[in-house]
Symmetry: C2
Subunit: 239 residues, 2 copies
């Protein structure tokens, strides 16, 4: 069973090395441009191993998604389970910070955010599954936060939707527009400090805009109007 001279329980077997190498290549190049040959070369395994262990490139990609999804849930418990007692502004900042960090975090085996970011703009066969298992829960969490910020206006579905799009759009920009950003601002580094500043900016920018979109400030804005109806984060988030 064990190929070379490894007894049995070994974390360095061929499927694991393939998963790791494939995660790096898929995150760096995307599903289409990543090559099975490149992955196998990086993993130091034979070319046919992908088809033997994962039934082809698609199967390997699906396995990487499953694997990294679980790892990401462990690493970022995230705003789907927010610590209580935070103001909506604080929850928005936590959401934005985690979202941005996930996508821009290179280095460690944290490809999940990069794979998600890629799927959004270059869908593969796995997008439906990814939407159900990852994107929609995150989206519902954000909707809950924004709904709280909007107050009574949060009952307006188009407004709520567009505000969420605005938040997510700002975050995705820092991930996907990097080639242009580098050309427009050659001195900009986009290191951890800049990322933190960017996430604070997005959270403050969005919170101010959402608060402004809410009705008049003269009246108790948050609590009373949405006392009725369903709790803010009912459907989808944990479904």
């Amino acid at each position: 069973m064990a190929p070379r001279t490894r007894p049995s329980a070994d974390a360095d077997d061929t499927p694991r090395r393939l998963l790791r190498a494939a995660g790096e290549e898929f995150a760096r190049f995307g599903y289409e441009r990543a090559t099975v040959r490149g992955i196998c070369a990086r993993a130091g395994v034979n070319l046919a191993a992908v088809n033997y262990h994962f039934r082809g490139k698609r199967g390997l990609y699906n396995a990487v998604l499953r694997d990294s999804h679980q790892a990401a849930l462990d690493r970022y418990p995230g705003p789907t389970t927010p610590p209580p007692g935070l103001s909506p502004e604080q929850m928005l900042e936590v959401f934005v910070r985690d979202f941005l960090e996930r996508m821009l975090d290179e280095g460690r085996p944290a490809w999940h955010g990069q794979l998600m970011a890629r799927e959004i703009i270059q869908p593969t066969h796995a997008l439906d599954q990814i939407t159900d298992r990852f994107i929609r829960p995150q989206y519902e969490a954000l909707r809950g936060i924004v709904r709280d910020l909007l107050g009574p206006a949060g009952q307006s579905e188009p407004l709520l939707r567009r505000c969420c799009f605005s938040v997510v759009g700002q975050c995705l920009f820092y991930k996907h527009a990097q080639p242009v950003i580098r050309r427009l601002h050659p001195d900009l580094t986009l290191g951890p400090a800049e990322r933190a500043a960017a996430s604070r900016h997005i959270a403050a920018f969005s919170a101010a805009a959402i608060r402004a979109a809410a009705p008049s400030p003269s009246e108790p804005v948050l609590s009373p109007p949405r006392r009725r109806g369903s709790p803010p984060n009912r459907n989808g988030a944990l479904a």
Copy 2:
């Protein structure tokens, strides 16, 4: 010279048909996934015509960019030459509306916006040229608008930059995240009405946020601490 039975000045010669077909294919599939065979089939010309008239796929793409760039300038004079007498809020709305319309406008031979949107997230060999000729002018126009909205705070280069990123990020989202949007909101159409509403939302959302980021109208908040040192916007903007 003229191939079949066409005397001379004919708008339907092979290079023109190739340009048109290539624009559609490049806009729809991107540079990499668009195929020379597909373009030639759509244009109804022989496969070798691309290499004969444009010296290959790259040359054809460059020609499409040049051609559509000129056409786009004709169609959208745009906010680089804004009509005077508009408030900064109105100028921002014009900018956002044109930007969004350019990118989402399908149908007519208006591939330029789609090609630009693609280049931002999937750069090709032409991105440097495109940045200089198209993106940077647009970016500077937006910077001017946002600087006006920010007031004294507009002297802060990082704040100005991030506000511009926020505006552009919101716009790009509607273009690039369409697969996910359709899955999250299957009933959403994204037709002309929704696009118009989205552009109004982005403009209002951003204007409110930028105004909020500006110091209070009663007191100048930002100016004193950074009075010393070099002028804030010296390098890069026009260099």
